[in-house]
């Protein structure tokens, strides 16, 4: 157990970081109202660093090993991108600076917008959304204003039952009602089912491509036609774009709106839960609705464009997570068209290979080629009294991270596995061996799994206790 920073620093002393004040002013002239303590620690620099290094040692992370979280695309984060993004010329810019002083930043934003348009086959992109869910929200707002402008009162958004939870949440935040579309026995959208629930009141069909089962919708052509014939816009959750770069341009197959996760597909780090970036691309008929401002090129200069009357407005204080753009653009520059296609091809090969190995010991409900990820199930271990959660926790004992568990909701005891392209064959072999061992342990010594993990910084947590007696902040214990 690591004591909190407050336990360590409540009665110590801090280093001095603020130079002497060369503008002393009588304190009576200053707005000093507060009498209570701020509750901040007092701790010298070495103590600060030791504390955070101790915390660091308790984290699993990509630089340590495979991170096969389905739908999260935990790929290697190139270190050169971090180095570039730390440059003061990027991170020292104030958003209210004169355009003439930020030409490099605007050029970068413009180039990234252009590159994402090409990768996705879209006509314009906004980089403003700060995360994937934020992108969904932005995209659905665009659809909302599009129909308002046309004077069409459409209330519903169709969302497949395999979708991420953010999809229906974004839909309802925008004032639409989500309608669930059941996946068929293939794990896909069945055009006949879609036809049945689509109506003149449907605004958007929100699909994930490839879907969360790692499957490319085989009937995408028919799906697009049914939706468009009904005047419905098609939104694509691009969380899984790592499967499609250089292979499918969504805009070219009829997708009207989509978001990307730069912190997945374009290698920027997750930071333990952000900052991410969720750019949104649209085709021409929706370009006018994008948030303001965008960046345009005029002769040799780059400037903000404050858009049309139709713009939905703004979804971020400024222009989005600029520092994340720097890293994503560096990645795109390094890889080029060839490299990006290699990424998707290798992601697909890695996923199919691992599915073949893991599928020897676990159920894979939807076999046949997957794209960049697949969903296995521990349902066959139920007879030993072992759950998916037990498997996940046992994986931690073997020093690897667990897959995404219990998602998508349509697969019982789901283990959603995305190996990503940067992992090598030997790593996948060894992960599969561990999965195999665990399946034997489940049969022969299930308690090993029930008690797992035993080799982690803490044992299995009492989540119910936390939910009943939540403690959100530190208090000094007398």
């Amino acid at each position: 157990m690591t004591g909190t920073i407050f336990d360590k620093g409540l009665h110590g002393r801090s280093g001095k970081y603020i130079p002497e004040n060369d503008c002393p002013v009588d304190e009576a002239l200053l707005p000093i109202q507060r009498k209570s303590s701020l509750g901040l620690p007092r701790i010298a620099e070495q103590g600060v660093i030791r504390h955070y290094m101790e915390l660091a040692s308790k984290n699993y992370h990509i630089d340590k090993g495979i991170y096969p979280l389905g739908s999260c695309t935990m790929k290697y984060n190139p270190v050169v991108n971090e180095e570039i993004a730390r440059d003061n010329s990027f991170c020292g810019l104030h958003p209210a600076q004169d355009e003439a002083d930020v030409q490099g930043a605007l050029e970068l934003i413009f180039n990234l917008q252009e590159a994402l348009c090409e990768i996705c086959g879209m006509d314009s992109f906004t980089l403003q959304p700060a995360a994937g869910a934020h992108g969904e929200l932005t995209g659905i707002m665009i659809a909302r204003d599009y129909f308002r402008e046309r004077g069409e009162d459409r209330k519903f958004v169709i969302v497949p039952d395999s979708a991420h939870g953010t999809n229906p949440a974004s839909v309802s935040t925008c004032g639409f009602t989500p309608v669930t579309l059941k996946s068929d026995e293939r794990g896909m959208i069945n055009p006949a089912d879609l036809k049945e629930i689509i109506s003149s009141e449907t605004a958007v069909l929100m699909l994930t491509l490839p879907n969360t089962l790692g499957l490319f919708e085989r009937d995408i052509g028919k799906i697009v036609k049914i939706a468009h014939d009904a005047g419905v816009l098609i939104y694509m959750d691009g969380a899984n774009m790592n499967a499609l770069m250089g292979i499918v341009q969504p805009g070219k197959i009829g997708i009207d709106i989509m978001h990307l996760n730069l912190h997945k597909t374009f290698s920027t780090p997750h930071g333990g839960g952000g900052p991410g970036s969720g750019p949104v691309g649209v085709r021409e008929h929706l370009s006018a609705f994008l948030p303001i401002p965008g960046v345009v090129k005029k002769m040799d200069n780059f400037e903000f464009s404050w858009g049309s009357e139709k713009s939905i407005g703004k979804v971020h204080s400024y222009f989005g997570n600029f520092n994340v753009f720097v890293k994503a653009y560096a990645y795109i520059c390094r890889l080029g068209a060839e490299g990006l296609r290699e990424v998707s091809e290798n992601a697909i090969i890695n996923a199919n290979y691992l599915m073949e190995l893991v599928g020897r010991f676990y159920d894979v409900k939807y076999p046949g080629p997957c794209m960049h990820e697949f969903v296995a199930s521990a349902v066959n271990l139920k007879e030993h009294g072992v759950s998916t959660l037990d498997v996940a926790k046992r994986l931690l004992d073997y020093g690897v991270h667990a897959p995404t568990v219990y998602f998508p909701l349509i697969v019982k005891e789901a283990l959603m596995i995305e190996p990503v392209e940067t992992e090598k064959k030997e790593t996948l072999d060894s992960f599969a061996e561990i999965m195999e061992k665990i399946s034997y342990e489940a049969a022969n010594n299930p308690d090993l799994l029930h008690e797992a993990p035993v080799s982690t910084p803490v044992r299995r947590l009492d989540e119910a206790y936390a939910a009943r007696n939540p403690d959100f902040r530190w208090h000094e214990r007398k």
Binding site: T173, G273, A466
Partner: protein, 462 residues
């Protein structure tokens, strides 16, 4: 094998597998080529040929390309910057960058597997505790995107708690924030009414009383307000309390070291922009939205929360909790759609506050205020200048010049000074010569004198 064009021994895409590896893998899978795996993607939907993107580059070429882009920027942090309006040029101790550059933190995922994420979880818990301490509130979450969206989320939250659909917001916020609010609430039929400001630059309390009715879910107090002016928080709070509406306080975290914390004037929800807490300006992103609330409202609050708990053998530990509010469980009925937030920025804030500590943080606030006051003293009497809202400010004030703001700002820029933000566009009532001037502890007396000289020259030249 079609599709794989990389030369053996060289690649651009950070891929470790060799052609030989791939050959073996395809054999294990039981297919003869990648094309077979792509069979579900009908050929009519596939990209023909290559994407039109620049050719791949070596690492050195990428670095060179970005050096050229960087050369096109003149960063505020290397100039004498008086730009604020929400983003400030404060001193950042080296510890912050060091901890944030540790891949144990930046390459980790959301702490869903708590047993191997205790570092992230404990740091969020400590961050939450620090935000609670600064604001004097009972609960703070793990972060939201930025100040503007945090304010929007707080209005959605208040409307959901009160089951009402009107919020009163000061007119003295920038257009970009009004745009965010309008965009966020448009689908929820929430009405936002703006309360004008007085000649002193403060919230018009009379107007507030008039607009405050039984349909009002919440009133937003911005402290200090966008013009830097300190509001009568207790008075406003009492008016709001009497009406039964909730009080949302939007605060500058640095100001909390010296101003009355919002919990002490009975705020129900506290939000703000945390960039000042150790984050670089970064052209306005990533930022750090923070939100804190009373415990009674926690189940209506957006985003992730970390709680202390125990493991099965009683070890103190940390875990994400009350997830039944969140989108991955509650889906369409979640309190917010937020998932990924600004975790690493929250870590930066925690490391910053830990490093400067109780006394250092107070020093930052005091020096910023003292230096702002010094600049005020230096320029308030200069010919043609006026400071319309007086000296009731924290670290930022409005300055009116004898010339159009843009002319002044351009002149200053030539001398390496970013002299403020022009206010005319967002607040036409202030005329075209008003600028918002922010002063932090990073400015020296010399910087302030240079500012004074520029104002003097501009004034004298007329």
């Amino acid at each position: 094998m079609r599709g794989i064009r990389i030369k053996e021994g060289q690649q651009m895409s950070y891929i470790q597998n060799t052609n030989q590896d791939r050959k073996e893998m395809l054999k294990t899978i039981g297919v003869s080529s990648l094309d077979e795996l792509l069979e579900p993607v009908s050929s009519e939907f596939r990209v023909k040929g290559k994407l039109k993107l620049p050719e791949p580059m070596s690492e050195a070429e990428v670095v060179g390309r970005f050096e050229r882009l960087a050369a096109g920027n003149n960063p505020a942090s290397s100039m004498k910057s008086f730009l604020g309006g929400g983003i400030y040029d404060h001193i950042i101790p080296a510890t912050v960058r060091y901890v944030l550059s540790r891949s144990e933190f930046y390459t980790s995922y959301t702490p869903y597997q708590a047993e191997v994420s205790q570092g992230t979880l404990q740091s969020i818990y400590e961050y939450q505790s620090m935000i609670c301490g600064l604001t004097s509130m009972e609960v703070a979450n793990a972060s939201l995107y930025d100040g503007a969206t945090a304010l929007a989320e707080s209005i959605l939250m208040a409307c959901s708690i009160k089951r009402k659909n009107k919020a009163l917001v000061p007119a003295a916020i920038p257009k970009r924030m009004k745009d965010v609010l309008r965009t966020y609430v448009a689908g929820k039929n929430i009405i936002i009414e703006y309360i004008p400001f007085t000649e002193e630059g403060t919230l018009d309390v009379k107007e507030l009383k008039e607009k405050l009715d039984s349909e009002t879910a919440a009133v937003v107090l911005v402290q200090p307000n966008y013009f830097g002016v300190i509001e009568e928080a207790e008075e406003i709070s009492a008016i709001v309390r009497e009406s039964g509406a909730l009080l949302i306080s939007y605060v500058d975290p640095v100001s909390l070291a010296v101003l009355t914390p919002p919990g002490e004037y009975d705020s129900d929800i506290v939000v703000g922009e945390g960039q000042s807490l150790g984050l670089p300006q970064s052209f306005g992103g990533p930022l750090l939205g923070f939100i804190a609330t009373k415990r009674e409202f926690v189940r209506k609050s957006p985003g992730r929360l970390v709680s202390e708990t125990v493991d099965i053998i009683g070890n103190k530990s940390y875990v994400m909790t009350l997830q039944t509010r969140e989108q991955h469980i509650r889906r369409a009925n979640a309190t917010s759609n937020i998932c990924t937030n600004e975790g690493l920025c929250a870590l930066a804030a925690a490391v910053y506050l830990t490093t400067v500590g109780e006394d250092g943080f107070r020093e930052v606030a005091l020096q910023s205020a003292a230096k702002a006051r010094t600049l005020y003293n230096m320029i308030s009497g200069l010919p043609g200048c006026s400071i319309p809202f007086g000296d009731n400010f924290f670290q930022e004030f409005v300055l009116k010049l004898p010339v159009p703001a843009d002319e002044f700002l351009n002149e200053a820029r030539k001398r390496g000074v970013l002299a403020g933000i022009s206010l005319g566009e967002d607040f036409p009532g202030l005329g075209d010569s008003a600028v918002l001037v922010a002063v932090t502890e990073k400015r020296s007396r010399e910087d302030l004198q240079l500012y004074r000289d520029i104002v003097l020259r501009i004034g004298g030249g007329k």
